[in-house]
């Protein structure tokens, strides 16, 4: 068995980063336009009508879980890039900052789904 010292888990982080990037690049442009511009400015009607249309998928436990996992993966991509951007700027933050940044990516979907189930 190979020794563990000197090895990192960076490849696993990078794999999730890649997956999140792929998902982000396919989903985020449309979601930004739809949720940020089209829905708020009434292109699809009143918010109540929009809610009636999307609630079926979004409020279903599995639908909400899918959305949480997808957004979590995109957040992982953003957090991984943020961490490496901090290192590129010449800062070398301690491991606790790294845990905090990746913790945001891990905890946000978890807390979101818990709030969704509780609501």
């Amino acid at each position: 068995m190979r020794r563990w010292e000197g090895r990192t888990n960076e490849p696993l982080f990078w794999a999730l980063f890649g997956g999140g990037g792929m998902l982000a690049v396919v989903t985020m442009p449309v979601l930004v336009v739809a949720a940020g511009l089209l829905v708020p400015f009434g292109v699809f009607g009143e918010p109540a009508e929009v809610h009636a249309r999307v609630a079926g998928f979004v409020t279903h436990p599995l639908g909400g879980l899918a959305v949480c996992v997808a957004l979590g993966l995109v957040l992982w991509h953003c957090c991984h890039r943020t961490w490496h951007a901090l290192r590129d700027l010449g800062l070398h933050p301690p491991e606790v900052v790294r845990a905090g940044i990746y913790g945001v990516a891990l905890l946000t979907p978890a807390i979101t789904y818990a709030l969704c189930l509780a609501a």
């Binding site: 000197g6 960076e10 990078w14 980063f17 890649g18 990037g21 792929m22 982000a24 690049v25 396919v26 989903t27 985020m28 442009p29 449309v30 979601l31 930004v32 336009v33 739809a34 949720a35 940020g36 511009l37 089209l38 829905v39 708020p40 400015f41 699809f44 918010p47 109540a48 929009v50 809610h51 009636a52 249309r53 999307v54 609630a55 998928f57 979004v58 409020t59 909400g64 949480c68 957004l71 995109v74 957040l75 991509h77 953003c78 957090c79 890039r81 943020t82 490496h84 951007a85 290192r87 590129d88 700027l89 010449g90 070398h92 946000t108 979907p109 979101t112 709030l115 969704c116 609501a119």
Partner: protein
């Protein structure tokens, strides 16, 4: 796709045992009994590290493009947090969702949306341009041309856009 790292050479050097500061006085063995094991205690390597400015990413066009790409993810991450709040509001009911939609109209959120859209487009264009390096489809001795791989990804983006807009727009 990982970020470049100009500074881990210090860590690598520390791992290799090269001292970063002035070497403490060590009794230099006499030339006659200079065995290979004795000379390994203090390495004669002194790699050259050119000084790196803090604003290195503004120095050339390629560096600036890279910095923009990395910054795009921070903005998109903020918008994802906005969407997450929207998801919880949708679960809470029509009133909470209406309040969230009205919040999207506020100037701060509109500014975030516009910047996030620009950043999402930057991310998409740069990501799609990189995919042919990873997705290489062999056709005999050669590979499928890069433009088809990039086009396939744009079609994927367009398909998802059509699905979302139809889902939102159907009455």
């Amino acid at each position: 796709m990982t970020a470049g790292e100009p500074a881990p050479r210090a860590a690598a050097d520390a791992a290799a045992g090269v001292p970063a500061v002035a070497v403490p006085a060590v009794a230099v063995p006499a030339v006659a009994d200079m065995a290979p094991e004795a000379s390994a205690a203090r390495s004669a390597r002194r790699p050259h590290h050119p000084p790196v400015r803090r604003t290195w990413f503004l120095a050339t066009g390629a560096y600036r493009a890279y910095a923009l790409r990395e910054a795009s993810s921070v903005v998109v991450g903020l918008f994802v947090l906005n969407l997450v709040i929207g998801l919880v509001s949708a679960h809470r009911g029509v009133d909470a969702f209406t309040r969230w939609v009205e919040l999207q109209r506020s100037p701060a959120v509109v500014a975030l949306t516009v910047v996030a859209l620009a950043m999402a487009v930057v991310h998409a264009i740069t990501w799609f341009r990189a995919t042919p390096a990873v997705i290489r489809v062999r056709r005999g001795r050669r590979h499928l041309d890069r433009r088809w791989v990039v086009l396939a990804h744009y079609l994927l983006l367009a398909a998802f856009a059509v699905v979302v807009l139809l889902w939102l727009g159907r009455s």
